[in-house]
Symmetry: C2
Subunit: 446 residues, 2 copies
């Protein structure tokens, strides 16, 4: 199972059609006909760049990389979608030459020999199809991380965002730039290898979530071949679950028709929660407070709205009630179950900073309004704290320096803790979904 | 570095204080004083259960598990938060005996000997402090997965939800139940080991995201010792990034004061996007359509609202405009940049099913309304398709069988593709955040 020659997973690498090649390099951007009609500028024909920290894989010592028909296909579909003319793409495609692969240097792992040719990448520079796209240009100025997914890519994105938190000091304070590039819907090996080739060119790290084991294996092999550092983000988790429940993973990507989203109770619960939460925003309809799962109370800009929305997406019906000096809280607030009410508070200096930015966005810069004045901010927070002191049953959560999802985690933990009465605060969910309407056996098209 | 004796990461396991022990087992729930006053029932004193598929680790052959003072601490804080009386907790704590650890069986890895005693778990049954919490009872009826995090736990939850998609058939069709239990904010070894002990008792898989390497190592060791299957969800991703950017991970958990959320441009952009999107929901304020990044058009219940909200959380200002028979679309829709407009369509049978459920939720069951009638649904969709045909620049996305995040992925891909003009559709982000207000160097409290 290990050697490439005997590994069935390697098969797709050697059975793909590559009918045409078009040169990559800075040339990898689709043509923009509006620019093509303008005189050539330095920007339109950028000089070859030597990125400061390009890893060995991206240097000229590695096999040079050329594009396949896939690129033309993507370029063409993009151009079609953008409503621009296709002429230059067609010319480029016609001019491209399908070269046979040159003799390959010996490697321990058999290379995907159909995928490269020996011409140096720099040779592509000067092609008049060379407009570097913004993302590719940005990538040159920092370390690139490619997220490659056969589905939405949100899982890879979420995991990488969390992982990058471990390098926050470097990213924020010391200014070392990282660019992430999410490639979603990569559901065939052809597309996959294009992306990995581009990663090699940009010296990118490739982090992938690919359900189909043959795709995951192809990614691994191609990354090894081109010297691209890579990791399968979800594999250890999937394998642990498989061992635990004694069932093999299906290997079916999220986008497959057999994995259509089912209309479950949970689906409708979430949709209802979002509908409810939007309608209840900013103290609207206090007569509905009793229908909420969670009620948030706080002064303006303590993050009630984004927090409500975040919780709604997790299936909780949330209402939020603003504390405004001189305005009484709605009577209904004190008539509902008090255990579902949460107070939000914040450091006055931070609240002032947030309000100042908010005032700018709204187009008033503070003149004629005390909204962002420190004295007013302090008074309003003192008023809020007085209300909280009168209602000791409400947990009061400081949001200073907390991201929305952190405050949400605290609230959800307390909510479930009060409800479930477990010794250890936990949020439990049953994963066997209850179907409300099963259409997956029907033949449907939309 | 491998042996426990020489591994510095093992140190925290042996230096923790365990001043008191309270028996676990079904007894692991906090007391509820209201139940304590009622006569003992079968429910209050459940018989010992023998879970059908309990792994060896949870059987009587493994070291029995007892609780530490941590449990009492959690129970007490929970009781305090819930507003119930503390008397019985105090009594239980006082009655608990701190036993010295018995002689330990020889193991290759040195056990955390202070954490267990030799009494069988079943001996705890009969303790009148034995009310099993709902989550713990549910866990008995399916395979339990413990998600353990020193932060919010949302990353672990997201990863596990995605991974469970690989076992969908088993979960939905064959009815094999899995329960997930999220333990967030586990930021000391004491709490961590309590959770892992409970996992051993429930025969749970432990999936953890722990930034501090000594915590991660403690989790690994404790799981090995108690025979609990476990995986570090984020480790491979963090290590790959560290290698790629040449910087060691900080090891600082999300909840640490030094990792307070900073007020960056991105922060304000997201908050603004959510505010904007809520105000624009359901065709409100068409005069603001030009300010939107993305405009969604479709008939009722094609998922415009949840989709808008999902996209808003990713930082896009979204407006949605309903298509209703007999009501003209707002003129402003045709005056804005057409490339930011997306049509949504759906299979009529599915739309009818969704509307029927919606009608029930709203309290009208279809009588006196054609909202969920098939003829009306078909007519309305045909009307929508006619509008889409007249506006060929709008990409039309079928939402049948797609989760909100899948449709969002398609839209975001096209959006960036049109904007960035890259050869390969990608969503690129710069990860070096721009600070708007830096308070992290100030001493703040909230």
């Amino acid at each position: 199972m290990i050697g490439a020659g005997t590994n069935p997973l390697a098969a797709p690498l050697f059975s793909m059609p590559f009918p045409a090649a078009r040169r990559l390099g800075p040339a990898s951007c689709a043509p923009d006909s509006s620019q093509a009609l303008a005189p050539a500028t330095a920007e339109a024909n950028p000089p070859p760049r030597a990125p400061d920290e390009a890893p060995a894989a991206a240097s000229s010592s590695s096999p040079a990389i050329r594009a396949t028909s896939q690129l033309s296909r993507w370029s063409r579909s993009r151009t079609l979608r953008s409503g621009r003319r296709l002429e230059r793409t067609a010319v480029s495609s016609a001019a491209a030459v399908t070269k046979p692969p040159p003799p390959q240097q010996q490697q321990q792992e058999q290379p995907p020999s159909l995928l490269y040719d020996g011409a140096p990448a720099a040779a592509a520079v000067g092609d008049d199809d060379d407009d570097v796209c913004v993302a590719e240009r940005d990538a040159m100025s920092g370390k690139a991380i490619y997220l490659v997914s056969d589905g939405t890519g949100w899982t890879a994105e979420h995991a990488v965002q969390a992982a990058l938190g471990q390098f926050e000091n470097c990213l924020v304070d010391r200014g070392c730039a990282v660019n992430t590039h999410l490639f979603s819907g990569i559901n065939d090996t052809d597309k996959l290898l294009e992306v990995i080739k581009q990663a090699a060119k940009e010296g990118a790290l490739v982090l992938y979530t690919l359900a189909d084991p043959s795709m995951a294996e192809a990614a691994k092999k191609a990354c090894n071949f081109w010297g691209v550092l890579s990791t399968d983000v979800l594999r250890p988790t999937v394998e642990a679950i498989a061992t635990h429940i004694g069932v093999a993973p299906s290997g079916i990507p999220r986008s497959s028709p057999s994995r259509q989203t089912k209309l479950t109770e949970d689906y409708f619960r979430r949709i209802d929660a979002i509908d409810f939460t939007i309608k209840q925003d900013d103290g609207a309809q206090p007569q509905n407070l009793h229908r909420a799962d969670i009620v948030l109370v706080g002064v303006s800009r303590t993050g009630k709205t984004p927090l409500s929305i975040y919780l709604a997406q997790k299936g909780y019906k949330v209402a939020n009630v603003p504390i405004v000096m001189g305005v009484n809280l709605p009577k209904a607030l004190f008539e509902i179950k008090q255990e579902k009410i949460f107070g939000l508070t914040i450091n006055p200096a931070i609240l002032q900073a947030i309000r100042k930015t908010r005032a700018k966005t709204l187009g008033f810069d503070g003149y004629g309004s005390n909204y962002a004045e420190m004295d007013h901010v302090r008074q309003e927070l003192a008023h809020a704290n007085q209300i909280f002191a009168q209602n000791p049953g409400w947990p009061v959560i400081g949001v200073t320096g907390k991201a929305v999802e952190e405050t949400a985690a605290v609230i959800v933990r307390i909510y479930h803790d009060r409800k479930q009465k477990c010794s250890m605060p936990r949020i439990s969910k049953r994963v066997a979904p209850v179907l409300v309407y099963d259409y997956t056996s029907e033949v449907v098209s939309s």
